[in-house]
């Protein structure tokens, strides 16, 4: 029998769909596959309290720091039209036990759905409106709190409360505009601590922290643009100075599609630097699934396709393959499934180091709660199964040459769900790209997370009244809008502040601080910009764990100007300020052993040192001589005379 070499087949299929890796991909490659991406950027707002209750926001506990645990199950609810949402049904199939860990300091009975919501946090609403206006959006005149069901347990009520504030905005990139579809205000979800087998554990501390979600149109046509847009929106949010910063305070979902594909949502990408690879790989995965669809449709009609399965016993199906051997010993059910016409498809390329077979693996893991390794297939890359064993299974299942097989094992009560999942995923292959949300990995690949919920699932919250947003409030907020990110970028450029300083200044929202110094003191914008973008950045990296009050930089420069001390000493002083945040500037100068010396007195030292230098060695160049003199005068000069001015005195 002609058998398929899985590895060869993987490489051949990768080549045949025209996969190019991220580094080598050209714009024409993205045009060929119709790369199209939209972003959903989530950003926590800097408020004292949560959105619908009066718990403090932004306090987190360690996974084992909790006062109580409670157990819940989520059930799908019928929509008004009498139908169930697909994603809700999938979560119900998983039969998960949801455990919530609550701490009395960070959560109340609202957070665990034992109390109806309190009126919306006005501080949060105001910040969200400020961001919507900064996005140049049309603001709605009345917003309604809407429920967005999530049955994965991440929200104890089973739905997220969210409200739309603006639609149709835009942001300006270097060479193009990106349209923004909408901005909504929403409550953050619980933090997942673990998800093993049939139990998922959440910490409730994050639940209810106010967030905004900004959704772009799918106007992004290149992976590097994904990052550019994400950064722009991040900087825009931060330019208000009213959003939370730090790990997990900003997250994004990426919606990717290729030509002929479908919108796939990659959920919760924590780092912007992962975005290009994730969107690149997802677009090619869809391209590969379309190729698989085409092959399959040529082989058989979807309506005529039917899979077969059989339970294996250790007597008739002996194997040395350890996991199955162990499964036999543990009396697990071991099932072999025949997938007609799927030969060569299970080992078909989908993502770097991932084949079509992995689509089954991930779905089984999520929906049927299978722990790994619990399955293997006839096109296993590592060829771990004996040829005889597979042959016997094929005979038992009456498999044909063009068929492929999956063998899986597990406890009896998971088997029927698993079979259903395998059949569903196989049938979906005839249609191309199944609608789903996917989770991301640091290597740039993704895996099935859940079925994509439809917009029909949204329904109004019954516990709250609509909120009016009148012109007066909008005008009030408009007066306080921060400068736009593109304007700031242009100003930094005009000030000749090098581009490598921009991201740091924008992400930390330091522009207003720089401007304040430039406007009120007598330093050049370039010096201050570089001081922030390089010197401050360096110290921030070095003393990461020490909080630094940024307004002290203004005070520092104001002090130097008032005391007529040269700015050359600023970096050394700043370093001491990080270490001794409570000390005043005079005390910092003492620490540095600084003595005020008249400029003339220093200049007068030059000939004396020069004479000494001559006495030692007069063969060296003028430059060496200058450096030597500078070196000897440096300590005395720092803060007392500008070093380049000093250099001119030495070598006029």
């Amino acid at each position: 029998m002609k058998s398929i070499d899985p590895k060869e087949n993987f490489e051949a299929s990768k080549k045949s769909i025209g996969y190019v890796d991220l580094k080598n991909a050209q714009p024409k490659d993205y045009q060929r596959i119709g790369f199209s991406v939209g972003l959903e950027v989530h950003q926590q707002l800097l408020t004292k309290e949560k959105l619908f209750c009066r718990c403090p926001a932004g306090i987190y506990q360690k996974p084992d720091e909790y006062d109580a645990e409670l157990l819940r199950h989520m059930r799908p609810t019928l929509s008004e039209l009498g139908t169930y949402d697909d994603s809700a049904l999938m979560e119900f199939k998983t039969k998960k036990k949801i455990i919530y860990r609550i701490s009395n300091t960070t959560a109340c009975t609202y957070d665990i759905d034992d109390t109806p919501p309190f009126p919306i946090n006005r501080e949060a609403l105001r910040i969200a409106l400020e961001i919507a206006l900064a996005c140049k959006m049309n603001i709605v005149s009345e917003t309604h709190i809407i429920r967005k069901p999530y049955l994965d347990g991440s929200i104890p009520s089973g739905f997220q409360c969210t409200a739309l504030l603006g639609i149709e905005g835009e942001i300006e990139l270097k060479n193009k505009k990106i349209r923004l579809a909408q901005l909504s205000i929403e409550e953050d979800s619980c933090r997942e601590i673990s998800d093993e087998g049939h139990t998922r554990i959440f910490s409730v501390d994050r639940m209810g922290i106010p967030m905004v979600e900004i959704v772009t149109y799918p106007d992004i046509l290149h992976p590097t643009e994904v990052m550019e847009v994400s950064n722009y929106i991040r900087f825009l949010n931060r330019s208000t100075g009213k959003v939370r910063t730090g790990i997990g305070t900003g997250r994004q979902d990426v919606n990717v599609s290729c030509k002929g594909g479908t919108r796939i949502e990659i959920k919760g990408v924590a780092h912007t630097k992962w975005l290009p690879a994730l969107s690149h790989n997802e677009c090619f995965r869809q391209w590969a699934l379309l190729a698989i669809k085409e092959k399959l449709q040529k082989r058989v009609k979807k309506e005529n396709w039917k899979m077969q399965s059989v339970q294996l016993n250790s007597k008739d199906f002996p194997t040395a393959y350890a996991p199955i051997k162990k499964a036999f010993q543990q009396n697990k059910h071991i099932i072999a499934v025949n997938l007609p016409y799927f030969a060569g498809l299970l080992s078909h390329f989908t993502q770097p180091d991932k084949a079509f077979y992995d689509e089954y693996v991930h779905r089984l893991k999520v929906i049927a709660c299978f722990s790994v390794p619990n399955m293997i297939c006839s096109e296993d890359m590592d060829e771990q199964l004996e040829v005889d064993f597979i042959q016997k299974i094929r005979q038992e299942l009456h498999s044909k040459e063009e068929d492929a097989q999956i063998i899986f094992w597990g406890p009896e009560n998971n088997i029927s769900t698993a079979l259903q999942v395998i059949e569903e995923r196989s049938l979906m292959a005839f249609d191309g790209v199944p609608k789903e949300t996917r989770q991301s990995f640091s290597d740039g690949t993704t895996a099935f997370e859940r079925v994509l919920p439809s917009s029909d699932r949204m329904y109004p919250d019954t516990d709250t009244l609509p909120i009016t947003i009148d012109d007066k409030l909008i005008e009030e907020i408009k007066q306080q809008l921060p400068q736009s990110v593109s304007e700031i970028k242009q100003q930094l450029k005009d000030w000749k502040i090098p581009e490598d300083c921009h991201a740091y200044i924008l992400s930390r929202n330091y522009f207003t601080h720089i401007q304040h110094i430039v406007d009120n003191l007598h330093y050049t914008p370039k010096f201050i910009g570089v001081f922030f973008g390089q010197k401050l950045k360096h110290l921030h990296g070095q003393y990461r764990h020490i909080p630094f009050a940024i307004q002290r930089l203004y005070e520092l420069f104001a002090f130097l100007e008032k005391e007529n001390i040269d700015k050359g000493i600023a970096y050394k002083m700043l370093k001491q300020l990080f270490i001794h945040p409570a000390k005043d500037f005079e005390a910092i100068l003492d620490l540095l052993d600084f003595k005020r010396i008249n400029e003339d007195k220093i200049v007068k030292q030059i000939p004396l040192i020069a004479d000494k230098y001559k006495a030692i060695d007069d063969k060296k160049s003028n430059i060496d001589k200058k450096n030597s003199i500078m070196g000897q005068l440096k300590k005395m000069s720092l803060g007392n005379i500008n070093l380049s001015k000093l250099a001119k005195h030495i070598l006029p």
């Binding site: 009395n104 709605v140 917003t143 309604h144 104890p156 699932r457 019954t462 009016t468």
Partner: protein, 461 residues
């Protein structure tokens, strides 16, 4: 013209809709001073302003467009959607007990009303079955929608309808009855049915939910499964209330209806047995008896129905500085009975005495219960108590105030004779007055205390 085309709209918003010939469920495009908005026109909730038109955008979000911002609008007419939950025919399993599910409305059976934007009781029991198919594994269920009212709108006439329905069902040889009911006055209905339906052959289990069934986290489904288990497989032929034991989806508790009280406005485990332990702890496959003495199920017993009620009964909640004019008004309005809710052991102020005496002389039956909820009325400890009794107020032992109200109404429905009313009031039908208070009958733990915190952390609540 169909009046429903402008559902909930009034005033300026209604004028604008008419002006542009736009109606509810249309796909509309609205040009406004705040930009362009398009979506489906939704009904307007009744108790909101008349200045906004509600749109459902294609993303699923709802927004309101202020009429003063509208420059122009146009629309495409679409058929009104039909909101319906499929009513499934309930399958029959041989060998499983026959249970009757009587629907009354309330949170266990509710869904969203677009017009009011709030929850309305709308699930028929068979719709309820469609959303909780697990019920068929517990029993063969027959359903009947008896009432469709909010729990707070329940009153004596509804109790009488229910009592008669129960009699009818019991006489048809049913193995148990489940009544789905809103939680606000669940304890009142429970008490009324205890008095009206006596000598029960089978369990009658009242069930509700604290968190509405339109939310995935609702306690409705699990409570209903527990109630069905108690009715089908339980041995306690009494009127019971079955609600969550903790905030977790873990176990339920069966409370004697005369001893149960809703003790939190929204918490899942709001219902507690007062002055006594619950009857049993219940899971989907087990009933663990806590109290060993109860009226055992016996289908040969004949149910006795006493469906009477006189609603000329009121409750007076005592507060410091209470003025007699309130009581005068009660007398003038022809009330026949008063349940006092007194301070401490059952006290009211001296200023009320003349009016109390006047009420007594007027033939008004007065009974004393407690604001403290837990404990016994005792009018012997202080002289003031004796003064109160001397003026015709009769202490009700540890009967709960709401139960006393129901019982007095029920008693006055049968007789006006003061001695007979007193005899009925003070002769317990099902432990509405108990002879003793066990040590574990009063438990209100306080958070922050080390051993309580340890208990909460260890025992999942």
């Amino acid at each position: 013209m169909n009046e429903d085309i402008f559902q909930g709209y009034k005033g300026k918003a209604l004028e604008v809709l008419k002006k542009y010939n736009v109606q509810v469920w249309d796909d509309a495009d609205i040009e406004t001073t705040r930009g362009h908005f398009s979506g489906k026109i939704l009904p307007r909730a009744e108790n909101t302003d008349s200045l906004h038109i509600v749109l459902k955008l294609s993303t699923g979000y709802n927004i309101g467009v202020h009429v003063s911002t509208i420059i122009t609008m146009s629309s495409r007419r679409l058929a009104q959607p039909v909101f319906k939950i499929p009513e499934k025919e309930i399958p029959y399993t041989k060998g499983l007990p026959r249970i009757k599910l009587l629907g009354t409305g309330g949170t266990i059976a509710s869904r969203l009303d677009y017009r009011t934007g709030a929850v309305i009781p709308a699930f028929s029991p068979s719709e309820l079955y469609a959303s909780v198919p697990e019920l068929t594994e517990i029993c063969n269920i027959e359903t009947e929608e008896v009432l469709a009212v909010f729990s707070e709108n329940m009153s004596s006439k509804h109790y009488i309808i229910l009592a008669k329905k129960i009699e009818e069902a019991v006489k048809s040889g049913i193995d148990g009855i489940v009544i789905s009911h809103g939680t606000d006055t669940l304890q009142h209905t429970g008490a009324a049915l205890t008095f009206m339906c006596q000598n029960l052959p089978v369990p009658i289990v009242l069930v509700g939910s604290q968190r509405s069934s339109d939310r995935p986290s609702s306690d409705a489904a699990l409570n209903l499964m527990h109630a069905a288990t108690a009715a089908a497989h339980g041995d306690i032929a009494e009127v019971l209330i079955c609600m969550a034991g903790t905030t977790s989806d873990d176990y339920g508790l069966l409370h004697k209806a005369t001893r149960a009280r809703k003790m939190h406005s929204s918490y899942r485990s709001a219902f507690r047995s007062i002055n006594d332990t619950p009857m049993a702890k219940i899971t989907r496959n087990n009933i663990e008896l806590i109290k060993k003495e109860y009226n055992k199920k016996d289908k040969n017993r004949t149910i006795k129905i006493i469906p009477t009620f006189d609603d000329r009964v009121t409750m007076l909640y005592y507060y410091p500085g209470m003025k007699p004019d309130i009581l005068e008004a009660v007398i003038d309005n022809g009330y026949k009975g008063i349940v006092w809710v007194g301070a401490g052991l059952g006290h009211i102020n001296k200023e009320m005495y003349p009016a109390v005496e006047k009420a007594h002389t007027a033939g008004i039956h007065q009974y004393m219960t407690l604001q403290t909820i837990w404990g016994y009325v005792n009018l012997f400890v202080y002289d003031t108590g004796r003064d109160i009794m001397a003026r015709g107020i009769i202490p009700c032992g540890n009967m709960l105030p709401e139960v006393a109200y129901i019982k007095l109404g029920w008693a006055l429905g049968q007789t006006d004779d003061a001695e007979e009313v007193k005899r009925i009031m003070l002769t317990p039908i099902n432990d509405e007055i108990t002879q003793r208070e066990p040590y574990n009958a009063y438990l209100v733990y306080q958070g922050g205390i080390e051993e309580v915190e340890e208990f909460i952390r260890k025992v999942r609540k």
